[in-house]
Amino acid sequence: MGIECLVLGAGQEVGKSCVVVTINGKRIMFDCGMHMGYLDHRRYPEFSLIPNSQDFSDSISCIIITHFHLDHVGALPYFTEVCGYSGPIFMTYPTKALAPLMLEDYRKVMVDRRGEEEQFSSEHIVRCLKKVTAVDLKQTVQVDKDIQICAYYAGHVLGAAMFYVKVGNSAVVYTGDYNMTPDRHLGAAQIDRLQLDLVITESTYATTYRDSKYVREREFLKVVHKCVAGGGKVLIPTFALGRAQELCMLLHDYWERMNLQVPIYFSAGLTIQANMYYKILINWTSQKVKDTHATRNAFDFKNVISFDRSLINAPGPCVLFATPGMISGGFSLEVFRHWAPYEENLVTLPGYCVAGTIGHKLMSAKIPTQIQLDEDVQIDVRCQIHQLSFSPHTDAKGIMDLVKFLSPKHVILVHGEKPKMATLKEKIESELGIQCRYPANNETVCIPSTHHVKAGASDAFLQSCLCPNFKFFKTDFERGSDLDDDFPQGDECCSTVQPGEEGR
């Protein structure tokens, strides 16, 4: 038996992550996301492709969710409540706390504002989450007698994890989204060196090489400071969780250091609430936040004030964090409408904007320009635009570093764009000599798995393995034995020589 890997989502694209892996007969679903770009059936993974799809509870041993982003968790209530899966579901504690917020927010936007057909109700969300088992980092969970899972810190967002799954002698790591460089509020991904048959990794930035984070921070602070020093207003559209906290911490520290008095606002709602979650889940944040939180909680932004609509046209400089991140609507669009026509103002854009959003239009536009908000509203954009290059995803160097560190037998790339994935595949195969695939959606990839066969070994053989014979041109026994003592790994050699041989 081998490992069978069915990619239901995020194959050669970004969105609706969902990979079903069958290891030694056990079927595990990693992530159950929805695609934000589609409103029809394509928004969900094609669950019907799962063998024995009449009874998911029977065919799937467990579901593992890596983090709370909708493209990783969005389809879960649908799958459990509508499709009827009732087996075990695993996610980390913060994900379990935050996922319902995200799902409920999404449902509200879709149903209550846009009046679309309801895919799942609030009740569905609640019932779905009840089935979830929360896990902690590096806590090995025995799902049934064959399956072991273990979560490792992934950075990316609060509570994000990579999952290690072992069935029999075969082992797989599914990374979800991860970040290899620490930022201000989250640490870098951290995992043990494991014996792996397969690593399924994201590849959002498969060909991007990012500069040092210090350079990025310096640039960001420079433009913001310049803008407020010139009396301008800064609009920072962000998602509620993640970048908002990161940038806010950055600005907050800078404000303290430079002793700036310009107010920093958070648009009301989710963000303030999110800060509260961060304060509670302090264990999942970066080392620095953990180290200092005894004296001061890094998420107590004392300069940060909640924003009021009446302040939009108030005189004087200010910095405002507003949702949503891509200026696709909501409060950030409202503020944008007011501030964009003035040259002294500044609007920052996140690193990635979905096509069709205002953010995407601004990315490619040359200032000054005119932007069509809807059929009859058009505004002049004269403000400065700064594109942020902060990203919670690792870059190509990080992916290579992780793959090299884990050195699995096979790599599968998901969650990326096809041409870039092809480049990365080449790189992994040529540089590391590891076989790499990047299947499209609904494609199945089979790779061989590991079996250990028990073999006997005599004591004498083991003894001789423990004291490897060095052969040298000059032999000086006394000196040689000295060195053996000094050589630190003398006794650890046994970890590489196991009383069993590997075979397929």
Partner: protein
């Protein structure tokens, strides 16, 4: 771990262990990997050391790249260990160092690979494995790793100037770190770079660096000041913001006052022009208020005064244009100044310096006021110039005095005293050169004389002077000679007349003294050798200046000979040559190549004289002075030795030799009048004794006794300089040039009375 005691010389054994350790870098257990990193580092260094020079660099690079792999480990301790290990590597190629700052594979590293292990299965490490390694470390989540990475950088920036330039940007960012230890280490690394002159602070960085002056941690502030005072600032604006930050530092943390004064003084000394600009702008602030009180409590005023009084000390500033009253204002700060400048001068010196400066400039100022005509104005400028320099000189001798008083005070071992005193003299000497160039010879000679006396006092106090003090004395003498020659030379240049005899005599004397210094000291370091040779070159170049073409060829040969020795020294000791020597090399090459134009090129030679300046060098403690004493017991003109005309006579000479090894070819030189010289070879193996001191009586035969009733001989001891190429014509005598080790002793002989 490898204990330090063992010595392994079997290269294949070391290689075996190294690769074994490398294989374990890929172990599943964290603690194994961590130990493996240490083992790789240790074995790797042994392996590098055991390799021949041509492959050493490659192995060192291989080790570096291999360790770079480990800085992406997910275990924090392994990363710390890896950075510690990286910091221990002695040599790394510049390409690889630069690669550690960039993710993109550079053209230079793309194709390279080294023996080692890249993954569990790949047994070649590409050079690109080092990509971004150091930046990763600086970006790390754990302060332990960041600190270790900063520390590794401190070691590695020394290796390459270009790498240092690249590192500055990111290191400056580290000053922003949350962790105090990281900030401190980053500052120390910057300080180390500044010490090696690799720190180019740009305007954009300055804010961050100066921001550290306001840090609430005293250690950081102190480290930041240490770095700031070493930085050379290009623009007035940068200097101004630097001063403003220091003043702000003082306002916020008055406890740092002494240190801040010190930095202000030193940084002012380095940037004299900027100081004068700034003092001009703020001179109003420094004036007393209406009620006649200086706002001395105002820290800003105090800081600016300190800055102001540093200006005359600046070498770049020839004209001292700080209003003299400022020096008298500064007197009110005397107490605080003496705390701050404790390492530069003592309180009395400061007082003397301040009163001197205020007086001196008053005089020039009044002269300036009177002088309306153009030439008197010019004269003033010269006076100004001199006054600035004299202030400088004044302070220098003050500083020197301080050195002696300090030494007097301490009841140290006399040997240590002497050594440090001669060192102090050599250090101060460097500052005399500008004065010589300006032609202030009287001042120079006075200073030299006082130093000489001081030195003598020390050397006389002890039983036998040590090599270093004698060297210092000789050096003082040579500088005096060169100074005089220089003065002659410049007056020659300006006035186009004056006899040349004086100059020539001076130069011949100088050359002889220099040769003596070269040969009469055992244990001269390469640096010292080079310095003496450089002075010799100056002497020869000066010689060409008066255009005496008669011995041109001889001196040209000498010049080339000395140049070749310099070149040899440089190759052997990887020393850096001064601009003067390099220029001289080029010119002599040109002259050598051209057949006819040698005389035309002579003016080039003279031009390069301006490049010369005295360098500071440290005396090696082991200097030994080769010396000899000769005596003929009981012989004087009333008690002559008997002789019979026409027959050889034996002269019993008591010889004492100091520090002369038996390898040296010694000759007893016996001269009769001006015409007759006879040499007797002294084979030291025959006499036994130690090199430190040998004492023996030697009966020297003198063959050609003249047909007179009475005559006197001169007996002295000379040493053959084997490295001088010059041949001597004496038959059965020395083949090479001689250096005398003692003064001639007169021996009186009279016809034996029957």
């Amino acid at each position: 771990m490898l204990s330090n005691g063992i010595v392994v010389e079997d290269r294949s054994l070391v290689e075996g262990c190294y690769f074994r350790a490398v294989a374990l870098l890929f172990d599943a257990e964290n603690c194994v990997r961590c130990s493996a990193v240490r083992a790789v580092s240790q074995w790797g260094q042994l392996l590098v050391a055991l390799n021949p020079d041509e492959t050493k660099r490659d192995w060192s690079d291989a080790l570096f790249v291999q360790l770079c792999l480990m800085i992406r480990d997910t275990d924090m301790e392994i990363r710390v260990t890896a950075f510690n290990a990286l910091g221990k590597i002695q040599t790394v190629s510049e390409d690889i160092l630069l690669q550690t700052l960039s993710k993109k594979a550079s053209a230079a590293t793309k194709q390279k690979s080294y023996p080692g292990q890249y993954t569990a299965k790949l047994f070649k490490v590409p050079a690109t494995a080092a990509a971004f390694a150091l930046v990763h470390g600086l970006e790390d989540e754990f302060y332990q790793v960041r600190k270790s990475a900063c520390h590794a950088l401190k070691m590695l920036t020394v290796l390459s100037a270009e790498f240092s330039r690249g590192v500055v940007h990111i290191l400056i960012d580290m000053l922003n770190d949350d962790s105090m230890v990281v900030r401190l280490q980053a500052l120390e690394t910057l300080h180390c770079m500044a010490m090696h002159d690799y720190l180019k602070v740009e305007e954009s960085h300055l804010d961050m660096l100066l921001g550290s002056l306001m840090d609430n941690n005293a250690l950081i502030r102190s480290a930041a000041r240490k770095t700031v005072h070493l930085t050379k600032l290009q623009k007035l604006a940068m200097f101004r913001s630097c001063i403003e930050s220091l003043i702000k530092n003082l306002e916020l943390y008055p406890q740092d006052e002494a240190d801040i004064f010190n930095v202000l003084y030193k940084i002012g000394r380095e940037h004299g022009k900027f100081v004068i600009n700034i003092i001009k702008e703020v001179s109003q602030e420094l004036e007393p208020t209406f009620d006649g009180h200086l706002a001395m409590n105002n820290v800003r005023t105090a800081a600016l005064l300190v800055l102001a009084i540093s200006a005359p000390m600046s070498l770049e500033q020839k004209i001292c244009s700080i209003p003299p009253q400022i020096f008298s204002y500064a007197v009110t700060l005397l107490d605080r100044l003496s705390c701050g400048l404790a390492d530069v001068m003592d309180q009395n010196t400061i007082l003397a310096y301040l009163s001197h400066c205020s007086r001196f400039t008053f005089a020039s100022a009044s002269e300036n006021f009177e002088g309306q005509a153009l030439d008197s104005h010019l004269k003033d400028i010269r006076l100004w110039k001199k006054s600035g320099e004299i202030c400088h000189l004044f302070s220098e001798s003050m500083e020197l005095k301080k050195v002696t008083s300090l030494l007097h005070g301490n009841l140290l071992d006399p040997h240590v005293k002497k050594a440090s005193f001669s060192e102090a003299v050599l250090r101060k000497m460097v500052d005399l050169w500008p004065l010589i160039q300006l032609g202030c010879m009287n001042e120079v000679i006075q200073t030299l004389r006082s130093w000489k006396e001081e030195l003598r006092n020390y050397t006389c106090a002890s039983h036998r002077p040590d090599g270093a003090s004698i060297f210092a004395l000789k050096y003082l003498h040579v500088i005096k000679l060169i100074g005089k020659a220089w003065a002659c030379y410049s007056s020659l240049k300006n006035l186009q007349f004056k006899g040349m005899g004086g100059l020539e005599a001076l130069l011949i004397k100088t050359e002889r003294r220099l040769k003596e210094m070269l040969y009469r000291f055992a244990g001269l370091s390469r640096e010292e050798n080079l310095h003496i040779l450089e002075l010799m070159l100056v002497t020869y170049t000066l010689k060409f200046s008066y255009g005496g073409t008669c011995c041109l060829e001889y001196y040209m040969n000498r010049l080339n000979f000395v140049l070749s020795r310099v070149e040899y020294l440089r190759k052997e000791g990887s020393l850096e040559l001064s601009d003067f020597v390099i220029e001289l090399q080029n010119i002599s090459c040109e002259i050598g190549n051209s057949e006819d134009g040698s005389i035309n090129k002579l003016c080039l030679l003279q031009k390069c004289l301006n490049l010369f300046s005295l360098k500071h060098f440290v005396l090696s403690r082991e200097l030994k002075y080769l010396d000899a004493e000769v005596d003929v017991c009981g012989n004087d003109f009333q008690n002559p030795l008997p002789f019979i005309s026409g027959l050889p006579v034996g002269i019993p000479v008591d010889i004492t030799l100091y520090n002369i090894s038996s390898e040296i070819r010694l000759w007893l030189e016996i001269t009769l009048g001006e015409s007759l010289t006879q040499f007797v070879f002294l084979d030291l193996h025959e006499f036994g004794g130690l090199n430190e001191m040998r004492k023996f009586t030697f009966v020297a035969p003198f063959y050609k006794t003249p047909n007179v009733k009475y005559f006197s001989l001169k007996v002295s001891i000379a040493m053959e300089c084997m490295s001088e190429s010059h041949h001597f014509k004496h038959r059965n005598g020395p083949k090479y040039e001689l250096v005398h080790l003692c003064k001639g002793r007169e021996v009186h002989l009279s016809m034996a009375v029957k």
